[in-house]
Each structure stands twice: as structure tokens, then as C-alpha cells.
Amino acid sequence: MSDELEALVAEAKSAMSQAANLRELDGVRVAFLGKQGRLSTLMKGLGALPPEERKQRGAALNEARASIDLSLDQAHGVLATADLNARLLAEKQDMSLPARPIPAGSIHPINRTIEELTAIFGAMGFSAVAGPDIESDWYNFGALNIPDHHPARQDQDTFYLPGTGADGRPLVLRTQTSPLQVRTMLGQEPPIRIIAPGRTYRADHDATHSPMFHQVEGLVIDRGITLGHLKGCLTDFLRAFFGISTLPVRFRSSYFPFTEPSMEVDIGWNRKTGELGAGGDWLEILGSGMVHPRVLANCGIDAREWQGFAFGMGIERITMLKHGIADLRPFYEGDIRWLAHYASSPLTPASLHEGV
């Protein structure tokens, strides 16, 4: 490279180092490499040279151009970084600002419990059934071997509505979800394996009773189903639901008009602390038994061929026990503070593979 070219390159580099920003740097590029740029002008002069000089001069010019290009790239990199840094600094925001709110909704604990128990019983082959709250008293009582004069059927426990159902019987708000057992037995042939979670009503209102509450009943009708299966099924459920594989479960002889033999089921807990699974005390949690032959007959099932078991438990009760909820009344009051405290996310539905 001739001294003249070296001087040109040096001049270009000096101009680049003076450039304060990318725009000025581009000016430098244009001044030297643009169409009318100084190096470009020299390049244009190549054609006038004799061939033997042209080659040497051409190589020198290319070398000078490469040198300027390289320096331009470097200078561009430095200035671009500085530019970006300046912009980033200018774009700074207060990251302590609260995010835009997306209101969080939630699922009521009763509905959460229904999801959980449906998942557990579902794994044991039960399907869930639903049905009307207003029933004729045959579905609620008569078919279940609870005749009109039965002590279990006192006026003060049952809400009545005027008029009669399609069968001509008085209308009641169902006091249990057993009408769904009846509807299932009438609607399908055995084998039957259902649970019936739903709203129920009783004319009772105090700290531990609500005029509306929820029950889940279960019904299994098959060949060869015994009391042992009833015990196994309920023990398996209770241990899965409460998540305590060693939960003590006790079965006591009892009486219900619609089962025989009948049993009440207790789980072990500590009465003082409310802790489940230990403590030496017993807490009654559900009623159960082998389906009474009269109930089978009322629904057209021959008890010589089919037998099975039924059970019923309070959904609020098991929910309160599982979550340590002390008071029944707030379940129905819609207090958003209570709901926010006890409700669960709609995005984490109950499932066995994630754990109920």
C-alpha cells in the first residue's frame, strides 16, 4: 500500500473514531466508500492505468478498502452497543408496579369434595347419577321401606310441597339422595354400581344442621356381594379421601329401614385436636348396610338372585373434617372472604393421578 493510501485509511479511521453515533459513522462510510466517496473515486481511476500497474494498484486499493470496512464494522459494533445501552436505559420501567390483575375465581369446597369422591369411587367402577330435588314421597320414602307411620319419617324433618307427583303421591324435597338409587334400580338391570351426590333438604336449622345440605349415597347390586365388600369399599374410600392409609375404620351394628344388616361407620380421630387417624376416639361418619330385600322387591329386583350394599354420608361433614372447617353455616352464605380461604382453583380439578 502506498503512503497515500495508508494516509487515506488512517484518515478514515480517525474520522470513525470521531463519530459520536451511528449516523455520523454512516457519514464516514459515505465519505470514503459511497458512490462519490474518496476511495470509490480512486477505484474509478483504475481503468485509466496501464494493465501492469492496474493489477498492483487494484490490490492496494482493495486492501485499503478491506481495512476501512473492518474498522467500520468494529466502530459500528461499538456504537450500536452504546446506542442499545442508551435506549435500554431510557426504556426503564418501575418493575415494582403491580401486574394487571386477572381476578381469580374458585371452586366451592362442597363441589371440590364431590369431584374428589367421584374420582375415587369412579376408580372402583362407580358412575355418578343425578336427579330432581323435588320428588314424590314414594321415591324418597315408600320404595325405601319407610312407611308413612315410621318413626324415621317425622313431619318436622321433611319439607312438603303442595300437590302430588306423577304417581299421585305427596311431593317432598328429597331428604336423602336415595331416590336416585330407586330411579337407578328401576331404570337399569343389575349389576349396578352408582354413587348419587347431591342436594338434600331437612327441616332442621342450628349450628350443626342446615335446612339444605349435601349427601353422597352409593349402591352396589351384583351377584355375590357381601358385607365384607361393603366394609372393603368404604375403608378403601375413606383412606383414599382423607389421604391416611392407616386411618382406623370401625363398623358398628345399627338400623336403617332400607338395609339389613345395617352398620354405622366410625373413623379414628382425636376429639380434642380434631386430628384424624390417631387419638383413640371414634367419630361417626356414615351409615351403610346390605340392601333390604323389601327395597329390592319394591324396585322389581329378585333378592334371590341379586344382593348388594348401600351407604350414605354427608358431604359437608367429610369436607369439614378433611379441611378442619369448624362451622357449617358459612358454606351457604357466599361470604367472599370465606370462599377465598377454603375454595380451590378451577385449574386443578381432582384427579387420582395427581392425588385428590
Partner: protein, 822 residues
């Protein structure tokens, strides 16, 4: 029912401690609800004698005592009781003892300068009643130094819950029998006294109507001296919660609780005429009963009557007029059987709850009346003296004899537990069943007269719609199995059902099918969608006040409860929104006016199953959350529309076919509400602002909007495979248009016209601005839309694009009269 252990001991020899006793009772189906050990808190209190009582030197109202508690030394006691005197025998507590009546632990003290090393107790301080007029004053022969609880025979009281089928267990004797059968103790046989009749019965039974009574025996005892019953009897009655009255009445209660055999005693002198009739009440007939209430009877009530009228509601309650008192010298004892169903219905009709009713309606020992009469006669003569008359009887012993057969394999086949056949038979025999026939496979037993619940006559209430052949087979099935199931229960119960091995339910498949059906899944989806949109899922009562129901379009008489628990919970709600609005108002009253509530629940339009609608509802009230980035604004009708739409979309409703009409029900603002419809008839949902008047009535302070989706109206989405997705290879292009249109033209009309103008190319139309203001002609608005054109074959030329846009504008103009804004 309560009973003291001393009463149980009169029927059962046993050594078991109280814990074992209770555990056994609970195990065999007689649930222990409470144990009151009255002696335990008094264990340290001993009988003491006041050696000397003198005036306290420094206090007028106090006395300084020297007390002997039988341990050889004297205790100084300062005492304020007015009856504290030299020689009194009472009860003393020493320092360290807890005083149940005051809740204080006793310490050595000094009262006004006099030392007090013990305390003399009143009944109230011992927790034995309310008497605090002075310290306990015991008879002269009370043994000094002995524990008071032992001296006073304060025994443990057990409270049990007897199931409705076990009338026989509503008695101390019945409980003793069950315990003995379960291997706890030995049952003492009932006495069978022989009574010598000394005179003809002054009264004669007559059964005028067999509905009133089937069998009655009675006998008089004359020359009785009625007064307080002996202490042991009074103690027992007090222990079970009864008030001792006089010996004759107390004896009837002794039999009610001891044997489960209610009796009645008439004062012969007060009975008009010589005949006691069992008959149905006459219309309007009244009975002044022993509970000081007067009942107006009906022709369905059975009574016991003399010439003057009803003297008792048979099996339920006696009359005041003919009852025995301290002046009674001749009583007439009634021992009868009544129809349990009639007793239950009469008792319920008149709301009378008595020990007699409780037992009669559960069923009594069918063979016991004569023997109970003899036993009662003997007890009355023992306590009150006198001599017995001959027996008067009417009606006859019912045919209660039944038998039942147990095939031993059913213990395993139904009960899930094999029991050795000898054990099974032994358990039944211990309960009073008599073996009639037995072989290796089965046993046939006679049912005892007191077990009305075993092998009972079968009454069915079958579905009248059953096929006759099927119904007949079902009836036979019941008749063939019920009594056997009774026996299986008895055998297993005595061994404890806890002993039956638990067997997990066999599952017929490795992977279970879905547990919920499509309808339930819809409800679950709706609930989750609304919660995901920020609503708090609720569960509220299905009933509201009638007035509230009316405000939401309900209130039909057919849906009004006949026996509501409260006047504001008397009407089935037409929509969950009614309940949610109340919850929102309650939250506002607590200071939380901004709420988003949802409920998937029932709306009741008729009592038929199809009139009980499954609805997914939201109620939003107040404002959206305040935030720096987007200011709070009142909730508006379109928020509710979004809720309804989200549910419908999630349920697979093809929204392109859904129309919106402006005829929402009256609880909405008429100009700010709408109805989603599919076709002309099907209403999918309502939404809108709550009517401002209703909002004020409900006490909602700010804006309130609601949505109601009728889940049952949503058609079941067709289950078919999805078609392949539409993924054109060419880029879509977008054009913005501003259109001037009359303000009352629904925007949806304009959007629909744009979408429909050129379906092959227009893939989307979005309304991105709506402007109404001074710069526009009166009555006009500007709607700005963005049209997305999706080429499919090739890139569109400018001319083609212009042509499509012109076509869209023309369609809009035709449909709505809108013009392109220049």
C-alpha cells in the same frame, strides 16, 4: 334412653367394668351416647361428724367447727352454713380436692383469724342439685369416714341410643338380654308371681272397636296406701330423667323402663261407671291429659273411656281426671296392646311424645301383658299394701308366633363371615330364639314374642309400573330372603360386625370408564369456566322468600313449601341468581361490594323432574378491580354476556347459529339485557343488568349484572372426529373500514352482513371501534371494523381486493343502511 348401672344389675349378673360394658353395647348395635360417672368427681369426699360447732370469734355469720372424718385426728373448719351444729353428720372435703359445684380446688386457709383445714359441703357444692340452704345433713347412722359416693350409692348412668326397630331394647331387661347374649354377664329371669284374687274386679274391660285395642288385661288393688315411693325407686327414676310422683305412678314407670312395658293405673273411685271401653274417639271429644294439656281428638284416635268420656289416649298418655294421687285407696292396673301404627299416627297428630308412645309405636312384647300385670300387682302390694281383685280381660293374645330359617352358608354369602354353626345357634338361643329344627345346613327357630322386628309380616310398596311377572318374582324373592337376613344380622351383630373381614370391591376392568355422564360433565365444565373467568363458585339454598322468588319471575303456589323452616325460606327459587343476589347484598353489607359470584344449581319452574332446571349463573356486582394500568369501571351487561357466551362456547354450542334477542325476563333492565337463542324456540341463556328497581330492593349499592345459562337446553354436541384444520398457505390480509350507521341499528347486524358478503374470502370481521359524538350527524354512530381476507388459491391482486371490499360495503349498506365514512 338412660339407665343407672344399679338398675342393670337388677336384671344382669356381671363383673365387667363400665368401659367394657359400653364397648359391648356399642358393638352389638346399642350405641352408647354418654356415660355419667356420678361417683368419680366425689371420690375423695368422706362422711364426717361435727364434734363441736361454736361461734366464730370474729364473724357473726361464720361458725368454727371441729370435725371428725374418721382418721383419728380433728380438723378445724370455718363454715358459713346456718345448719352447721354440734353433732351434725355431713360430708367433708380435704385440701387438694376439686369442688365440682364451685369449680375450685380446696386449699388450707385462714378465715378471719381462724384456721380452716377442710370444708363441709352442700349438695350444690357436690354438683348434686341446687340445694345450697345449708350443708348436707345425713342420718345419725351414716358411717363416719366412708366415701360419700359409696354411701349414697351414686352409680354410673349410661345413655344409649336405641334404633327404631328395637322396641325390646327400650328397657333395662332387654338391654340385659342382649348383653348376656353377647357374652357379657348372665340374664336374671323375670319373676312370675302368683297373685291371689280376693274380690271381683270393680271395673270391666270392653273392646268396642278392635282398632282401638286388640288385647287388654286389668286388675284392681284395694286398700293401698299411696305416698312417696321408696328411695331406691326414686333414685332410679331420677337417674333416667323422670320425676318421682307417687308410688303407684312410679311403679308404672318402673315397668316402662325396666321391662319396656308401659302400664297405666286408674283411680277406681274417679272412674265413672263400671266399664272401661276401648273405642275410637268421638269427633270433638277432648282429653285433659296428665301433662296438663287438653287434646281435641279425632275419630282416628283410640281412647280408653269411662261413662264420662275419654280417660286416656290409649298407649300414649293418661288422663288427668282419673289418675292416682296420694288419696287413692283403690287402683286399677291396665296392661294392653295397641296397634303401633295407630299409636305413631295419633302421637304425631297431637305432637305428644311420651315414654309409652315411644315403646308402643316400636312394638311391645306380644305375650307379656298378663305376666306384667301380675308383676305390677305384686310390686304395688309390696310398696303400698292392699289386696288384689280378679282379672278383667278383653280381646285376645295376638298370634305372634313366627319362625325363620337360617341357611348357615348365608352368614358368609350375605354377611361375609363364616360363623361356626354351633356358635350361630347359641347366639340365637341366647337372644330367646328357640330351635325348632336343625341340620348341618340350616336351623329353623321360633321368634320370641318380644322381637317384632324379626320375620315380620312383609309389606311392600312396589312400583305400580313393574311388569307383573317381574313384580311377582321380586315379591317371592323378598319373602324368601328377608327373615333369613334378619337372622344373619342377629348372629353377626352379637359377634360384632367389626369382625367381618373387609374385602376390596372387585373391579371388572383395569381402567374404569368415565364416572360422570354428559349432563354432569356439562355442569362441571360450566362451573370451572365461570371460576376461570374470576367468579367464586357458590352453593346456596334452593329456596328463598316468596317475595324474592316473585321478583325473579317465580313464586307459584305449587313451589311453595307447606312447612317452611322460616318465612324467608318458603319458596323454591326460579333461578340461582335470586340466591346469588342475596349473597352479593350480604357481602356489600360487610363492606365488600365488588363481587363476582357463580353457582351451577337448580332453578325450579315446576315440580316435575323436567321443570327442575340445571342452571349455570353468575352475578357480578360493583366495579372491576381498581388498578394503575386500567381504571376500575362499573360492571356492565356485556360482562354478563361474556359469562354466558363463555359457558355456551365451552359446551360446544356453534355460536354462529346463535342469535341474540332483546326479550330477557323482567328481572333485567329492559334496554340492557338479552337472550341467547338457538333457532326460534330454544332459549340458551339470559344476561343483562339487573333491573334498577330490583337492585334497589335487593340492597345492592352499585351496578349489578347477571347471566343465566340453561344447561339442559344446550344440545348434546355431536361426537364426531374433528375435520382437518384450515391452514391456507397464503398470508391473510386485513382492511379497516369506518361505517356511519343509525345508532339504533344492532352492531351484530352489520357484522353479520360483513361476514356473509363473501364467505370464500372473508374469514373474520372484528368491530374495533365504536364512536358516537359531536363530530357525527345526530342519531348516527361510527362503527369501525377490520375485515380479514384469506386467499386460498393465490395472492390477491389489488383489483380483486378492492372488489371484495366493495362487495362487503354494499352488503353492509343493504342490510343496515350504513355508509362508508369518508
Amino acid at each position: 334412653m338412660k339407665f343407672p348401672l344399679s338398675w342393670l344389675r337388677a336384671h344382669l349378673d356381671f363383673d365387667a367394668d363400665t368401659a367394657t360394658l359400653c364397648e359391648t353395647l356399642t358393638r352389638i348395635g346399642i350405641e352408647v351416647e354418654g356415660v355419667e360417672d356420678r361417683a368419680a368427681p366425689l371420690a375423695s369426699f368422706v362422711i364426717a361428724r361435727v364434734i363441736e360447732a361454736r361461734q366464730h370469734p370474729n364473724a357473726d355469720r361464720l361458725r368454727a367447727l371441729r370435725v371428725d372424718i374418721g382418721d383419728g385426728r380433728e380438723y378445724a373448719v370455718v363454715c358459713g352454713a346456718p345448719n352447721a351444729r354440734t353433732g351434725l353428720i355431713g360430708v367433708a372435703a380435704l385440701p387438694g380436692a376439686f369442688i365440682p359445684g364451685t369449680g375450685i380446688t380446696l386449699k388450707v386457709g385462714e378465715i378471719r383469724g381462724e384456721k380452716s383445714e377442710a370444708m363441709m359441703l352442700s349438695a350444690r357444692e357436690m354438683g348434686l342439685g341446687d340445694d345450697h340452704s345449708g350443708i348436707i345433713d345425713l342420718p345419725e347412722d351414716a358411717p363416719i369416714g366412708r366415701p360419700y359416693a359409696e354411701y349414697a350409692k351414686l352409680d354410673t348412668i349410661i345413655e344409649i341410643k336405641v334404633t327404631p326397630n328395637r322396641g325390646d331394647a327400650l328397657s333395662v331387661h332387654g338391654i340385659a338380654r342382649d348383653l348376656a347374649a353377647a357374652g357379657l354377664g348372665r340374664l336374671k329371669p323375670l319373676p312370675n308371681p302368683s297373685i291371689t284374687a280376693r274380690y271381683p274386679s270393680p271395673l270391666t274391660w270392653r273392646i268396642e272397636d278392635p282398632r282401638a285395642c286388640t288385647w287388654v288385661v286389668g286388675r284392681a288393688v284395694r286398700g293401698v296406701k299411696n305416698g312417696p315411693s321408696p328411695q331406691w325407686l326414686q333414685d332410679w327414676l331420677v337417674a333416667v330423667g323422670l320425676r318421682p310422683i307417687n308410688a303407684l305412678v312410679d311403679v308404672t314407670n318402673l315397668f316402662t323402663y325396666g321391662l319396656g312395658r308401659p302400664l297405666h293405673v286408674f283411680d277406681v273411685a274417679k272412674v265413672k261407671g263400671r266399664t272401661l271401653s276401648m273405642r275410637m274417639a268421638r269427633p270433638g271429644e277432648t282429653l285433659a291429659a296428665l301433662n296438663n294439656k287438653t287434646y281435641t281428638l279425632t275419630e282416628e284416635d283410640g281412647v280408653i273411656a269411662d261413662e264420662a268420656g275419654a280417660e286416656a289416649l290409649g298407649g300414649i298418655i293418661g288422663g288427668e281426671h282419673s289418675g292416682c294421687d296420694e288419696n287413692t285407696t283403690e287402683c286399677f292396673i291396665e296392661s294392653a296392646l295397641f296397634d303401633p301404627v295407630r299409636i305413631a299416627l295419633s302421637g304425631r297428630r297431637h305432637a305428644v311424645f311420651t315414654d309409652a308412645r315411644q315403646r308402643f309405636e316400636r312394638g311391645l312384647d306380644q305375650a307379656l301383658p298378663p305376666r306384667a300385670l301380675d308383676m305390677a300387682t305384686a310390686t304395688i302390694m309390696e310398696l303400698c299394701g292392699g289386696e288384689a281383685s280378679e282379672i278383667s280381660e278383653a280381646g285376645q293374645e295376638p298370634n305372634w308366633r313366627r319362625h325363620a330359617t337360617l341357611r348357615f352358608e348365608r352368614l358368609m354369602g350375605l354377611g361375609g363371615m363364616a360363623v361356626a354353626t354351633d356358635d350361630a345357634v347359641a347366639r340365637l338361643e341366647a337372644l330367646g330364639f328357640a330351635t325348632l329344627q336343625r341340620d348341618t345346613a340350616s336351623v329353623t327357630v321360633a321368634v320370641p314374642s318380644w322381637r317384632n322386628d324379626i320375620a315380620a309380616p312383609i309389606t311392600l310398596d312396589m312400583d305400580p309400573g313393574l311388569d307383573p311377572t317381574r313384580a311377582a318374582a321380586a315379591r317371592e324373592g323378598c319373602e324368601a330372603t328377608e327373615a333369613e337376613a334378619d337372622l344373619v344380622e342377629e348372629v353377626l351383630r352379637l359377634g360384632g360386625l367389626d369382625a367381618v373381614p373387609a374385602v376390596s370391591l372387585p373391579v371388572p376392568f383395569a381402567v374404569p370408564p368415565p364416572a360422570v355422564d354428559a349432563k354432569q360433565r356439562r355442569a362441571i365444565t360450566a362451573r370451572r369456566i365461570l371460576a376461570a373467568r374470576g367468579c367464586q363458585d357458590n352453593v346456596t339454598y334452593g329456596f328463598v322468600a316468596q317475595a324474592t322468588a316473585e321478583q325473579f319471575g317465580g313464586g307459584a303456589a305449587a313451589l311453595r313449601l307447606e312447612n317452611p323452616i322460616a318465612s324467608d325460606l318458603n319458596q323454591m327459587r326460579p333461578t340461582p341468581v335470586a340466591s346469588l343476589a342475596f349473597a352479593a347484598a350480604a357481602n356489600a353489607a360487610r363492606g365488600f361490594a365488588d363481587v363476582a359470584l357463580s353457582e351451577v344449581g337448580g332453578g325450579y319452574r315446576s315440580t316435575a323432574p323436567e321443570g327442575q332446571l340445571a342452571m349455570a349463573c353468575t352475578l357480578r356486582a360493583g366495579s372491576t378491580p381498581a388498578n394503575w394500568a386500567a381504571p376500575a369501571r362499573p360492571v356492565e351487561a356485556l360482562d354478563a354476556k361474556a359469562d354466558a357466551q363463555a359457558v355456551l362456547e365451552a359446551l360446544g354450542v356453534p355460536m354462529a347459529g346463535v342469535t341474540i334477542t332483546t326479550d330477557a325476563p323482567g328481572h333485567y333492565h329492559p334496554g340492557r339485557s338479552g337472550t341467547f337463542r338457538q333457532g326460534p324456540k330454544t332459549v340458551l341463556a339470559h344476561f343483562g343488568e339487573i333491573h334498577p328497581q330490583l337492585r334497589d330492593t335487593l340492597g345492592l349499592p352499585g351496578a349489578a349484572v347477571a347471566a343465566e345459562v340453561f344447561l339442559d337446553a344446550v344440545p348434546e354436541p355431536k361426537r364426531r372426529k374433528k375435520s382437518p384444520p384450515d391452514l391456507p398457505a397464503f398470508q391473510p390480509l386485513r382492511r379497516d373500514l369506518a361505517l356511519l350507521v343509525d345508532a339504533d341499528v344492532p352492531a351484530d347486524n352489520l357484522l353479520r352482513a360483513a361476514r356473509g358478503a363473501e364467505r370464500a374470502l372473508v374469514s373474520d370481521v372484528v368491530l374495533f371501534d365504536r364512536y358516537a359524538g359531536e363530530r357525527l350527524p345526530e342519531g348516527k354512530v361510527s362503527l369501525a371494523i377490520q375485515i380479514t381476507l384469506q386467499p386460498r388459491e393465490r395472492t390477491l391482486t389489488d383489483a380483486e381486493i378492492e372488489a371484495v371490499v366493495a362487495k362487503v360495503v354494499a352488503a353492509i349498506t343493504k342490510a343496515t343502511g350504513a355508509t362508508l365514512r369518508g
